[in-house]
């Protein structure tokens, strides 16, 4: 239930992976929104790893959807990684999972992306 928000960014197989940990709420969401916006504006394929997020509220979901929209607008895309049942249920309940492709692991998301790239030729 505790944990400062931390965001670490790395690049793997041509994809930018932002690993988020800690609590995302109204007191930390601005930092997340700014970081994801910066990454989304680069027009890259972006994976947001939420597996170490201990709490996310509606403001956090809004930041994810906003970043996904920005990524689309810049010719990129945003994918989320989340295995926690509570967060997955919230993403489903709010319909966010219909706007942002979801995988349980980073490897799963990378495989999904590689497969969709292959499918496009």
């Amino acid at each position: 239930m505790d944990g400062e928000l931390a965001i670490t960014v790395r690049r793997e197989r041509g994809v930018v992976i932002a690993a988020v940990s800690g609590d995302i709420d109204i007191s930390t969401v601005t930092r997340l929104r700014e970081r994801l916006s910066g990454l989304a504006d680069g027009g890259q394929t972006l994976i947001v790893d939420l597996n170490r997020v201990t709490f996310i509220d509606s403001a956090g979901l809004g930041a994810l959807v906003g970043a996904a929209r920005r990524a689309d607008a810049h010719g990129g895309s945003l994918h989320a990684v989340c295995a926690r049942p509570q967060t997955r249920k919230l993403l489903w309940l709010t319909g966010v999972d219909r706007r942002i492709p979801l995988a349980a692991t980073v490897d799963g998301a990378l495989m999904f992306l590689a497969a969709s790239r292959d499918a496009r030729g």
């Binding site: 609590d23 709420d25 709490f55 403001a59 979901l61």
Partner: protein, 143 residues
């Protein structure tokens, strides 16, 4: 436990308050931790307890973002349910809360939607003194 003076206040419903917390932006993590403990102690399984936490958090965040910036959370547990009540600002309860009922639909944001979905029952009252939302969560029957 709480002296609200001569005015009628349904908080507690005759049972002791488990929590009476004034909150502002910095204390929401504390609020979540407190609610998680109470929800677990009330007998809710972990997954449901975290839904309670999210719902109460969303109400409190709403108060901070769109209300007076600070509010009050009270939790009590009458038979078979956990009641979590969030007051916006310095709400003073009128003798008949329904007399000042004046819904503000625009107040309903995503957070409130989440709270309403999570709770078994949600009661909201708005009036000149502020807004009060009570979430009611059913507890599992005692074994």
């Amino acid at each position: 436990m709480v002296d609200d003076g001569p005015v009628k206040d349904e908080a507690g419903d005759g049972v002791p308050l488990l929590l009476d917390l004034m909150f502002g932006a910095v204390a929401l993590r504390v609020l979540r931790a407190e609610v998680l403990v109470l929800a677990r102690q009330a007998g809710l399984p972990d997954e449901r307890a975290r839904e309670v936490v999210l719902a109460v958090h969303e109400l409190a965040a709403n108060v901070i973002c769109h209300g007076g910036g600070k509010g009050r959370l009270r939790v009590w547990q009458p038979a078979g349910a956990l009641h979590c009540q969030v007051d916006d600002g310095d709400l003073i309860v009128s003798a008949d809360p329904l007399a000042s009922l004046d819904p503000f639909p625009e107040w309903l944001g995503h957070g409130l939607w989440i709270a309403r979905r999570a709770a078994n029952q949600m009661r909201a009252l708005s009036g000149p003194c502020g807004t009060r939302v009570t979430l009611i969560f059913k507890l599992p029957a005692a074994q």
